[in-house]
Every structure is written in structure tokens, then in C-alpha cells.
Subunit: 847 residues, 2 copies
């Protein structure tokens, strides 16, 4: 794992996965990395997701079909209980699987692992959103059979999945049987991972939990010749589900068909007298409907309606809709890098994953793995707000708004949680599906109070990018007020006069290798912004919308004094700073720790969290992920360039990157402070997290935050965009071996295309929404390296980049995946003693 | 609970529990406080313990019979797992119950809760160690029946329990039936508490865990007319158990008897044609034998031998032996306070509990509840070494040696644990039965590294008190070397030249309301002593026993440099000190926290741990128990009187005493620094912890550490004894309303009686062991208020206490149970802002 992160810049086996700018393609099947390919070839729309399991059902790492937010609850059993510990466990449920379509020729089953395949290709097309597989199978008796299949989860109709399966005998006639299933797996076969096994991989806290009790209780089952419908209810959470499937066959050959349904199984079997050259085409259309507790008969009706519509319009229309939806997506979201097709492909795969994780999320959040796997149990974290919402705000504002509304709807639970933690206001849960805190390890969970500020930050960024004041007035302001109220209640004042400062104690920052500290810089910086924005918006709404503001004040018991208090807390927030080193300590006492000697840490001890007791890790200066450095990016306006460089150079050599949230942030700040090789290296480390399985756990699902971070690295990192003060600024740092970088932004109803080249940056104003034009005017101002530029509709606005040139220099040869050893060594603060927290003296064996 | 701690100085209901200097007596039965009385009337010998359940079996809080160290193991399931977390849960097993003897007259059962009782008395006699109950029952049909029963667990034969049950019809003849049982309760009826229930009492981490699987697997059952034998094996731990019971009846009346045995039940039933005035006397003798895995047939043989011996000698001899054993105990252990019979009674109850918890422990440790209940799951903590071993070392050195040998035998596991925590040497588990760490919450468990130093401290105190160099040479030195090695590996150096200091980071001190801190004063002080003693003993053994020393060096890979390093670490250990306040901060950053406003904390929020999330508690200056103040006592030679007073006065007002380990230590230091009312108040708070159920959880078992602390308070606190430098010193502070305080000490083979009066202290040298006389001489030196006094055999050595008088002044009226509010307010450091961590502004309800 660690070694692979220092490998070749293109870490993908290109003989098996050839470069294709618009697709991820596999040219041979392997049972060695099924977990990885199931994730990489998953199809999803943010609501419904299906892992890339092979059609035949066998050869599996984890069968998986997930519906965002569809979860079971269970009581968390703490090995040692304490007041306020999270009580309600929540785990995304693996819903009945409709992917399986088994093929028999001469009654011999097609089993991919053993099949003699004359041809194999699997291709996930980013433009039309369809996973296609094409085989020529030579049966044990030597008959050649072509099998073409397609699978898609519809972006246009979020409850819908469409599959086609086409078999053509190429040499001789033969009896063909096709058995298509709807299977509710209750036996734990492959789909859950055991979180709490004794040791080894099973101990990985990042995996999901095995639910040993029956989760989905069958409610009804029904089948006709065409249609099968099963319905279920979650035993504890009471959530309900209906899944309905239509089958249709098109063939010139004679056939008979059988239908069958029981509680956990629906089956459709075709027996065909196959004729050479006559295709047998099965279409299988599935609709999933879920709810928090609507009776299943109602869901069954909804599922029928979905299927009836497809029956009337035909599946080809589904494929056409899918293409049209994605055309719109790409016109907003595509980022183009000329002459580097492999990088272009990887970028598009990541952007496509963002579409698959968020496209039709609507009333839910965006889980850490989207709906591509069960990793992190389908929970929502700060990932969404910090890594994904910037992308959504600038490319799909409607989706961003939905995700923020979801946090608004979660406020009552967050208020109860604050109460449990003896605080006023609202405290968002560190990880949750239903709004209740589900983090069973508070030191790296509940203690991450910064999630409050991360949500407020994303909210303000969204409103700033879109100009959606209406959302702020009606719902967003409640989030700002209640989060700010928590901060002002949590902190306390120390010092007198000019030295009086507001302190926040006993919190954990993003870096989980240090927990429960005082004045974590990231937290204090973000909380300060939270307080400032709350005060700013309160005053602004009071002025612009006095009636709505007055209603809110009554609703939340807000008085002017409290708003004034927020401003004071924000302005006088304590930020730890070390004069000697000229850096910001990660927390008030961070520099008192010994420095972990990462260079001397054996390869088999990575990631640290799986090989050292937390008490050991917490005792050292060592980072799981960017913490101060994340603050430098998110609140860059609060730091000077010198501070940023000093902080980056101090923290980078002690950052393990054991979290995939780290490298994309390190890339952005490295680019800003001029560490070119590190910037591009960390970018690759984010770009290939899943495609090259750099962290060894891609099998658990897509790292959605990292995918969002790829967009951030491109736009904020190399594009040099910032949006701290309401106006977009650009200080580009194009990698020297990239001739250009192009991306689009939606800004307050305008659509701007940005094309960056080494000597210039061009802005083109596209379509302008009429309402936006009325409010915002038909032009938009940006700032390029300190100079204000007005972008107007029509011809591109071209800004020459002067002699200072891009910060990223041109002479880049082969770049290592993460950083550069020489550069790291150079960075290592001279004279700081380092220690290895593993046995280093007197080699006594444990007796 | 809290309010009761501020109640009357004698918080016991004397109408129900009359004063008796040599017994605890109950004059009426109540079902309201069965948990409490089951604990207070428990009989035990350190190996075997039986709760004070009523003979009839009904009316129960928790049935309980426990055998020290007899435990089941189970895999700890952490809600969120991490490397190095404790894996092996261990829980003391409630073994088959032999206490139940049911009585029927006219086929009407005696049920205490509903019975019409003309007379009731229950009495636990501290001098003969027998629990006796005497009833006159008026049956529903109006017949008067006298029932006298006895129960004892033998100190002389540790596997043995003896019961007698005598029934006499007082008015008319009647059929009498007596049903005596051996019952293995597997249904969880009453005997386990659920640790992890959703909320409320069930959440209390101090209770034991419910084992839901069958624990004791039946192996054999057998019965004859006289004898019944059942045997079992623990499902996971593989420990084995045999319990054998003999019954005998003595009566003039006609009777028939029935015997029956099955897997979980043995029954002996007598049907007697009862005659007025003819006593029916049943004796029931039980033997328990256990092992780590010896086949049960072997245990059955052992149990037969135990019973055969009693059969031959008669039960009266068992009662006589018991009295002789206790006579010896009291001659060593008694502490006498003249003219205060209620206090005397309570002191003796506590000392008797020490006998019951430790008397026949032998190859096991001393659990937090002894063998009187399932609280803390039968685990061994630092309690033994810190609170109980001083008593044992000075009154029962052989028992002390056994407890220390137990820690020696645990060294291999402690070495493995150090390895798991990335350290050299040995790290003792925070809580354990079998030597493996069983603490599932590391912040208040494994992080308490100080347990290493506590064990080393107790070891050195034992060797110093007894002169048992042989034990040190053969086994003790391994403990010293491996614990010192851990400290020198755990810490690190900071600073240059004279300021160079040895720091210990990321540990938790005794006070569990602050966890995982840097340079906890208690830990650093104790570790410093551990390192110093290890170096001192290494050098001493090298000089006195060069061969044995050389063997040890080879065994433990010890070189002279390492010994030198220990001395340096000890001498240059960092001790946090605040010049401004003139106090020692509990840890390096303790004073940066807000001060918890205990005065404003609502009554229903005590103890804090059951009402506030750990994150909230940890954020404040508030103590569960004495921490710095414990260091002031244990390592008093390292502090000046001014420091002690300043530290005590700073910490006392912010110490909740939510732990029962606190008040006895606070009493000792209050006495030393001159806070008379607090000293006596905290003494009472310790004295009545169980007798008045001051912490509301006496039902879980006896607070053995507090019982040890009562002896410490008397001898170290009021007696003013210290033993820091190898010579006993005395600076007495007799409470003014106590005319005298007398106690005995065994010191290096001598027995010294100490009698303290307000104007003098007398020392009398008793029996002198011949070997001791040869080694140590026939006299012993002590120091009284700085003056050396030689105590010789014969007449008492009397030392007048001069005009400075006892520190405790005479004018004490009614003293509150804990401290004194005025005194507390006076102590409260002026100007320190305090904060309440409960909702204090804008009374919004959780929505």
C-alpha cells in the first residue's frame, strides 16, 4: 500500500485497463481484484447504486445494491458505557439484488472465473452512463456464444435500473436457459464486513458492520408472467422497500418461460431453443421505492407506475434519457486537460463518480462511499460539505441546495445532541444517516465539533456562489444561528484587555492522529468564520428582510446582544502561533510532543492506525491527514503567503496521508506555496485513490470526498481559484507539462468557461439566466493576480499571465505519486529530534 | 446520594442497626435495601464469598457466591475498534448457590417479606466470623416457630462454608419440611447487572456485565443420602469447579429425607413430624474447589476430602477454628478508639471486610469488591497496592507477600502488553483477572500507566516493612526492573543543561475526570520513585547478592548503563509547578481549563460521570478523586508543608469525591496540613461508604479500597505515621474528641503497639521473632516529631507530645460527613472564575 504510493505516475495496468478519455474499460476478467472492479464499475445515481458485480452472481467480493439513506438501526453496545455516548447505530442496508442473470447453454452454466473466453470487454461509459460487457464464450463442448449485456441506473428516473442481456449462438444451435433473479440475501454472504473481529483486517474501523439479525422482513411477494414484486420492512428502523422487476424477451427462437416469487426470491426463467445467429434479447427493468415508513402497498403502487412508464416508452428511451442527462452534466462539470488522455480519463472517472454519488440524492446526504459500497456504513460525514459541496455549488447548484436542506432538516436532532453535550445551539453528529450521532468513538467522532463550522462554511459558499438569499433567509440562517450559538457557548475567555482571547477546549480537528485538544487551529479558524458569517448574515437579513428576520429571532430566541457576542468571539478567537518556528501549531500544545520518525517507520506498519494503539499515536507529532494545511486552503484569506509556506513545510513531512482526504488538500496548498513536485504528486495520489487502489480499500466503495478533492485540486489548486470574499480570484499554477486546463463554473446564474494556458487565462460567459441577469447584471467581475477583470457575454476575455509565470515550473520529468523524498528531506525542520514509537532498544522479545 | 453525604455524622439508622462494638446487627428485615444488606452481611475469606442473601432464597437483590479469580472470558466487542484495544473480557462467575434453605410449616412457606415475625435479629459477629439470624415466626395459622441459623465461610479452611438451620415449634406440633438447595442459576436471575443498557442505572460503568450465554457447563452430578456433588466447566475460560455439600439432621422427631441431583440443581428435603419444643437442627457443609483447568474429577476428590475432614471433626470445631483465626487477626489488626462505640463498630466492620477480602487470597489478587459482589466484574486494580497493601504489610505480611507474588506471576502478560503499546519493559493491565488488560475504555484504563509505579511502590513498602530481601532478590526485582524500563522508554527529554527534564506524555492519573494528559503530577512523582527504587535496589542487590544479581541481569538483559539512566530519569523528572498560584498543576496544562462550579451543580447531576459526557467533564478543572493530593500522601517526602497546604486547598473545592477512593486520602492530607474539620469529615465519608451506602452502590459489593483507606486514615492520618525513608515517623493529629487511638504494627518481625493520647504517644514492643531479633536486633527506632526514639522490649516507651499539641484541635462539635461548607468557601481560590457546564443561558428546550 505504502510502496504503491511511491510508484510510477500512472499506476494503472494499461494492458488490462487501456486509456479511453470517456470510459473505464477492462479487457480481461480477474478474480484477484473483484472488490476493486466492483467499485470502479459500479453504476449509481446518488439514490440507487449497484456494485459492478458480474451478471452471473458468482465470483464476488461483495454483492451490493444500496439506496441512499435506506438503513437499519441497532443499539450500540459500548464495551464500557458512559453518559452521552452514541446510542443508535445506523447501517446502510444491502437491498435485494436484481443484477443476477445466469446463462446456461447445453445446461452448462457460464461461470466467468472458469469460462473459456475468446473475447472479453467491460466498459463503463461516462457519456451515456451505461456499463456494457461483451463476451464470446466457448462452452465446454466448444460452442461459441456471444453475450452482450448492459446495465444502467437511471439519472433521469431515480428509482429505475435497466439491464439488457443478449445471447447469440455463433456456431450451432443449442438449448439456452436464462435465469434472472431478484434475491434478498439474508445470510451475510459477502456483503457485510465484520467491524469488530479479533484482529487483522477485521479490525479496520473504516469498514462496515455485520448485522447478524435478519434486517429485511418480507412483507409481500407477487409475480405475473411479466412482473415480479417483493416488499420488505426493516426490523428496527421500520423503513419500507418495494422492488419490482419487469422482464421482456425478444427472440425469433421458440421459448417457454417460468415465473416464481417467494419471500426472499423472485425468479424468471426462459428456456429457448436457440438457433445460430438469432439473438435472444432479455430486458430487465427494475424499480426500487423506499420510505421511512409508508405502508408497502403504497410503495408497490409507486413501483408499478415506474415500470408501467418504461413499458410504455421502451427501454431504448431510458438509454436516450441517460445520455441527455449526462450531456447536461458534462457541459457543466467537465474539466479538460489536453494531450494527457490517461489523466483526462482518470479525471473524468472521478467527476463521473461525483455524478453517481450526488446526481439524484435529493432528500438525503452524500455518504462517504456514495451508494457504491458499504464502507463507513453509508454514513454522512463532513466530507460532503468540505470536499463535495464546492463542486456542486459551482456545477449543480440545485443538488448543492438539496444537500444543505438535508442538514436543515437535521437541525432538531442536532439541537438535542447539543443538549446532551451540555451546550446551547446545535451540534451536528460526526457521522449519521438519520440525524442521530452514530460515532461510537467520541475522541475521533463527536469531539470533531468542527463539523458545525464545515456545514456553515459550505452553506455560505453555496449562497455566495448562487446568490440564493432566499434559501438563506428561509432555512440557512437557522443553521448559522444555531451553530454559532454552540461555539459561543462552548468557548470561554482568557486574558485581559488586548490579550483577551476566546478559547475552544477539548475538541478534535480533522487529523484523527491527535484527539481532544485545546485550541485546534483548524477548529478555531473555522469556528471564527462560522461566528463571523452568522453575525454578518444576521445583520444583512435584518436590513434586507426585516420581517423574515424578526420571525427567525422569535423562533430561535435571538437577540442583538448575541449577534454582537458572535462578532467579538470571531474577532478575538485564539489562534495558536509559535514565534520561534514561525508556524501555527496544530493545537495549543502540539509542539510539545515528540516528532514521529516516519522515515524509520517500517513499511508493514502503515497505515499507523492499524498498527499502533491510539495512545501511542496521540503521543507524537504525526498526522493522519492535513489539518492546519486544510485551514490554509479553506480560510486562506486569514494567512500570509509566508505563514502558509512555513506551515506547509512543517507539517508535510509528518503527514502520513493515511486518510484519503489528505492528499488533495496537500496538493492545493503545495501548488499555492510553490512546491511544484509535491503538488502534482499529491494530485496523482488523489486522482488514483480508487483506480489504482492506493489505500487498499477501494473494495469498500468509491472515495467520494477524494473525487471531490480532485475537482478542488484542479480548480483551486492548479486553476488557482479562490472565493473567500465574494469575488472569484485566480492565481493560476498550471503544471508545466499541461498545455491547458479548462473548466466551467456556474456563478449566480451565469455560466463561465475558464481556459487556462501557461501564458494566459480566458473567460467566456455562456448562457445567462434572465432572472440572474436582472439581479446580477449581464457581466461578472473576477480578479486575476490582483487585477480586476470584467467578463462580458460574447467573445472570450483574455488575460495575459505576466513574466512571473505560473508558480509551477516547466521542467517536470517523471513525477512520483506522492511527493519527493529529497524535497521532503529538505523540508524536514533541521534539528527537531525525531523518535520512533516502535521498539528501538534492547531487542527483548515479548515473553 | 449527594445529600446523604452532607448528613448527620452518624448516618446509620440506629433503631434498626444498633451500636455493637464487635458486630453489625439488624433488628428488622426490610426489602427496601436488600442490595445493601446483602453486601454488609456478606461472609467471605478472600477466596470464597457469599452475599448476605436471606436463607429462604426469595427477597433478593442479587444472589451471589463468588470465588476469587474464578472467571469467564469473552471477546470484548468495541463499538469502534482500534489497534491494541483490550480483547479479552473477564468476568467473575456467580457460582452455584448453597445458601438456600427453605422452610415449610403446615406446608406454608416462610417468606420473610410477608412473614409475621415476633422476633427478628441478624448479626454478623466480627470476633467469631459467623452470621447468625434468629426469628420467631408466627405462621399464617398462628403457630409460633423459632428459627435460628448460622452461616460462615471458614478462614481456616478456605474451601469451606458451614451453615446450620435450627427450627423449634413453640406452641403445637406441626409437620415441618426443610428444603435445602444447591442451585446453579443460569437464567441471569438477579445475579448479574447489565452494563450496557440504554440509559439510566444500566449505563453505570461501575457495574458488572451480563453474560448472556451459558457460562457454567455442567460436567457431573452425583448424590447420596448425605452428600451431593456437582461439577462445572466455564465455557470459554475452561476453568473448572466442583461444589460438594453434606447435610446432617439432628432431631428427636420422626423424619424422612429425600436426595436429588441434576445438572444445575441438588436438593435435600427433610419431612419432619415436628414436636413442640424439640429442636430440628440441620447442618449444611459445603466445599468449593476450583482450578484453571484441572479435570473436574480431581476437584471432586478434593471436595470430598474437605467434607470428610469436617464430617470427622464436626462442625463445632469449624466454628472454634474460625474464632481462633480471628483472634489472631484482631490481635494484629485491631484499631481502638475509646468511648466512641459507634465509630469503633464501623472501624471494626471495615477491618473485618479487609480480613474477608484478603484473608485467604493466596494465589490471586484482591478484587475491588473482594468476593462480596460482582461490581467491577471481580477485577483487580491499583486499589490493592495503594489502599490495601499498606495495611497488609503492617498486619499480615504473609498475605501481602502473596498479593505481590501474584503481580510477579503476571509479568509475562504485562511484558506482552508493553509490547502491544510499543514500549519496552512491562505494563500492568489497568483491570484484570487473568493478567490480560480488560479495560475497554483506554482513556480511563490502559492510559493509567501509574499502575506500574503503584505496584513497585507497594512492593518496596512491603520489603521495607518486613525486611524480606529474599523476596526482592528472587522475584520482586523483576517487577522493579521491568516497570522502570517502561518508564525510561515511555518518557523523553526536553530542555538543555540544568533545565533538561524527563517528560511523560499521554497518560491518565488517578483522577478519571481528566484523561490522557502530559506530565500528570501523580504519575511523574510515582514514576520517579519507581525509577529511583529500581536503581537503588539494583545497586543494593549487586553489592549484597552478586550472584543472584548477575542471574537477574542475564534474565532481563540489564546493563549498568540502564541503571544509571533510571537514576537520571528519576532525578530529572519534570514536575509541573505553577509559581503564580504556588501549587502543582494536576498535569502540565490543567490550569488552562475552566473551573467547574460544583456549588452550582444541581443535586440530581451527581455523580458527574452519570450525567455529563466525558468530553464535557474533561474540559474543566474538576476531580473525580484526589490526584495531586494522593501524591502528597504517598510521596510526602518530596513536598514541603507549604506546598502540601497550597495544593490541598486548591484541589479540595474542585474534588467531587465521586470515587470512593478519594475521601480517605483527602482525610489524611487534610489532617497533615491542619484542616481539622475536613479531616474528620472525610474520615467519616470513608468510614460509612458502605454502612450508610453513601455512594448508592453498596449493593454491588464492599468498597474494599475504602476499607483499606479507613485503616490508612487512622494510622497515617490521625496517627500521623509515615514510612518514607525506612524509619517509621510519627506526627500525630488525634481528633480532639477522641481520648485515644491504639493500633498495632508488625515491623521487620517485631510487633509494636502504638497508643496515642492527646498528650503522649506510647510504643510497646511485643513478641519478637527469633530470626528477626538476629537480623534487626531486639529494639526498633522510630521518630516522633523529629526526635529519634528507641523502643525496647518490656515496659512501654512513652513520648510526651509537647505544647504544639496535636494539629487537630479540641473544640469539635457535630461534624458534617464531608468537609464543611464555610471551610470550603474559604478555601476557594479567590478570583478564579468558575463555570457551570450545564445549560445556563437562554432557556431553550431541546426541540
Amino acid at each position: 500500500m505504502k510502496t504503491s504510493r511511491y510508484g510510477h505516475p500512472d499506476p494503472v495496468d494499461r494492458t488490462r485497463f487501456p486509456v479511453d478519455e470517456w470510459a473505464w474499460t477492462e479487457t480481461s476478467h480477474s478474480t484477484e481484484d473483484l472488490g476493486l472492479t466492483e467499485t470502479v464499475f459500479a453504476v449509481a445515481n446518488g439514490y440507487l447504486g449497484m456494485r459492478g458485480n458480474v451478471e452471473e452472481g458468482r465470483d464476488v467480493h461483495s454483492h451490493g445494491t444500496y439506496i441512499n439513506g435506506f438503513h437499519e438501526t441497532w443499539q450500540i453496545r459500548h464495551a464500557e458505557e458512559a453518559f452521552g455516548f452514541a446510542q443508535t447505530g445506523q447501517t446502510i442496508v444491502n437491498v435485494p439484488d436484481v443484477k443476477t442473470i445466469k446463462l446456461y447453454v447445453d445446461d452448462e452454466p457460464l461461470m466467468l472465473a472458469m469460462a473459456d473466453l475468446e473475447h472479453y470487454e467491460r466498459r463503463l461509459d461516462f457519456r451515456d452512463g451505461v456499463l456494457r460487457r461483451s463476451l464470446i464464450w466457448v462452452t465446454p463442448s466448444g460452442k461459441r456464444v456471444r453475450i452482450e449485456s448492459q446495465r444502467m441506473v437511471s439519472f433521469e428516473q431515480r428509482h429505475l435500473a435497466v439491464m439488457t442481456f443478449e445471447v447469440t449462438l455463433l456456431d450451432v444451435d443449442a438449448p439456452v436457459a436464462i435465469s434472472s433473479q431478484i434475491l434478498n440475501r439474508q445470510d451475510g454472504e459477502g456483503e457485510y464486513h465484520l467491524a469488530s473481529a479479533a484482529a487483522g483486517e477485521g479490525m479496520d474501523p473504516r469498514k462496515a458492520r455485520k448485522l447478524t439479525e435478519r434486517v429485511l422482513e418480507p412483507q409481500t411477494h407477487w409475480s405475473s408472467e411479466r412482473r415480479t414484486i417483493l416488499s420488505y420492512r426493516c426490523a428496527n428502523s421500520g423503513m419500507t422497500l418495494a422492488v419490482a422487476v419487469d422482464h421482456e424477451i425478444a427472440t425469433e427462437s421458440d421459448f417457454e418461460e417460468l415465473s416464481h416469487a417467494e419471500a426472499d426470491l423472485g425468479k424468471k426463467i426462459y428456456r429457448i431453443k436457440g438457433k445460430v445467429g438469432q439473438p435472444i434479447r432479455i430486458s430487465k427493468v427494475a424499480a426500487y421505492h423506499t420510505s421511512r415508513g409508508v405502508p408497502v402497498r403504497e410503495l408497490v403502487d409507486r413501483a408499478r407506475r415506474t415500470l408501467d412508464r418504461v413499458r410504455d416508452d421502451g427501454v431504448d428511451e431510458c438509454f436516450a434519457e441517460q445520455r441527455r442527462w449526462l450531456d447536461r452534466f458534462w457541459s457543466d462539470a467537465d474539466v479538460r486537460v489536453d494531450t494527457h488522455p490517461a489523466i483526462q480519463q482518470a479525471i473524468r472517472w472521478n467527476l463521473f463518480q461525483l455524478a453517481q454519488a450526488t446526481g439524484r440524492v435529493e432528500q438525503s446526504g452524500v455518504a462517504a462511499k456514495g451508494v457504491s459500497g458499504s464502507g463507513y456504513e453509508g454514513h454522512y460525514f463532513w466530507d460532503t460539505e468540505t470536499y463535495v459541496l464546492p463542486f456542486l455549488s459551482y456545477t449543480s447548484p440545485r443538488v448543492a441546495r438539496g444537500a444543505l436542506r438535508f442538514r436543515y432538516l437535521m437541525l432538531p436532532a442536532a439541537r438535542r445532541r447539543a443538549y446532551d453535550l451540555s451546550q446551547l445551539g446545535a451540534l451536528y453528529p460526526w457521522r449519521t444517516i438519520n440525524g442521530e450521532e452514530a460515532s461510537a468513538y467520541y475522541a475521533a467522532g463527536t469531539a470533531q465539533y468542527h463539523i458545525n463550522a464545515d456545514i456553515a462554511f459550505a452553506l455560505c459558499k453555496y449562497v455566495q456562489a448562487t446568490g440564493d438569499d432566499d434559501f438563506m433567509l428561509r432555512e440557512g440562517i437557522d443553521i448559522l444561528v444555531l451553530t454559532a450559538r454552540l461555539w459561543s457557548d462552548l468557548g470561554f475567555w482568557l486574558g485581559q484587555g488586548e490579550d483577551r482571547r476566546f478559547h475552544l477546549h477539548g475538541v478534535t480537528g480533522p487529523d484523527e492522529y491527535t484527539t481532544v485538544v485545546n485550541n485546534n487551529l483548524f477548529t478555531n479558524v473555522m469556528a471564527s468564520d462560522n461566528l463571523r458569517q452568522a453575525a454578518r448574515w444576521a445583520r444583512r437579513l435584518a436590513e434586507s428582510y426585516p420581517e423574515g428576520y424578526a420571525r427567525m429571532c422569535r423562533r430561535l430566541d435571538l437577540v442583538d446582544d448575541e449577534v454582537a457576542e458572535w462578532s467579538e468571539c470571531a474577532e478575538r478567537m485564539y489562534f495558536p502561533y509559535d514565534e520561534g518556528l514561525g508556524i501555527h501549531p496544530q493545537d495549543q500544545h502540539f509542539l510539545e510532543r515528540e516528532v514521529w520518525d516516519l522515515a524509520a517507520t517500517p513499511d508493514d506498519k502503515w497505515p499507523l492506525l492499524l498498527h499502533y494503539h491510539p495512545l501511542v499515536i496521540y503521543r507524537f507529532q504525526v498526522l493522519k491527514q492535513a489539518d492546519v494545511v486544510a485551514a490554509l486552503f479553506l480560510q486562506g484569506q486569514m494567512f500570509t503567503m509566508e505563514q502558509k509556506r512555513a506551515d506547509f513545510e512543517y507539517y508535510d513531512p509528518i503527514t502520513t496521508g493515511d486518510s484519503t482526504l489528505s492528499s488533495v488538500v496537500q496538493s492545493i496548498v503545495a501548488a499555492e506555496v510553490g512546491h511544484q513536485r509535491l503538488a502534482i504528486g499529491y494530485f496523482y495520489a488523489g486522482l488514483y485513490v480508487d483506480l489504482a487502489d492506493l489505500h487498499g480499500n477501494a473494495s469498500d466503495g468509491v472515495h467520494v470526498a477524494s473525487a471531490g478533492g480532485v475537482w478542488n485540486s484542479l480548480v483551486y489548486g492548479f486553476g488557482g481559484m479562490r472565493d473567500h470574499n465574494g469575488t472569484l480570484t485566480f492565481d493560476p499554477r498550471l503544471p508545466a507539462h499541461w498545455p491547458s486546463l479548462e473548466f466551467g463554473l456556474r456563478v449566480r446564474g451565469h455560466r463561465i468557461s475558464v481556459e487556462l494556458r501557461c501564458d494566459r487565462i480566458e473567460f467566456t460567459l455562456g448562457e445567462v439566466d434572465a432572472e440572474a441577469a436582472r439581479v446580477e447584471g449581464t457581466s461578472i467581475d473576477v480578479i486575476v493576480r490582483g487585477e480586476r477583470v470584467t467578463v462580458r457575454p460574447g467573445a472570450p476575455t483574455v488575460v495575459a499571465l505576466d513574466g512571473q509565470g505560473p508558480v509551477i515550473e516547466r521542467q517536470l520529468g517523471s513525477v512520483p505519486l506522492v511527493g519527493n523524498k529529497d524535497e521532503h528531506e529538505m523540508l524536514h525542520t533541521a534539528g527537531v529530534p525525531v523518535a520512533r514509537p516502535h521498539r528501538r532498544k534492547r531487542g527483548e522479545a515479548a515473553s
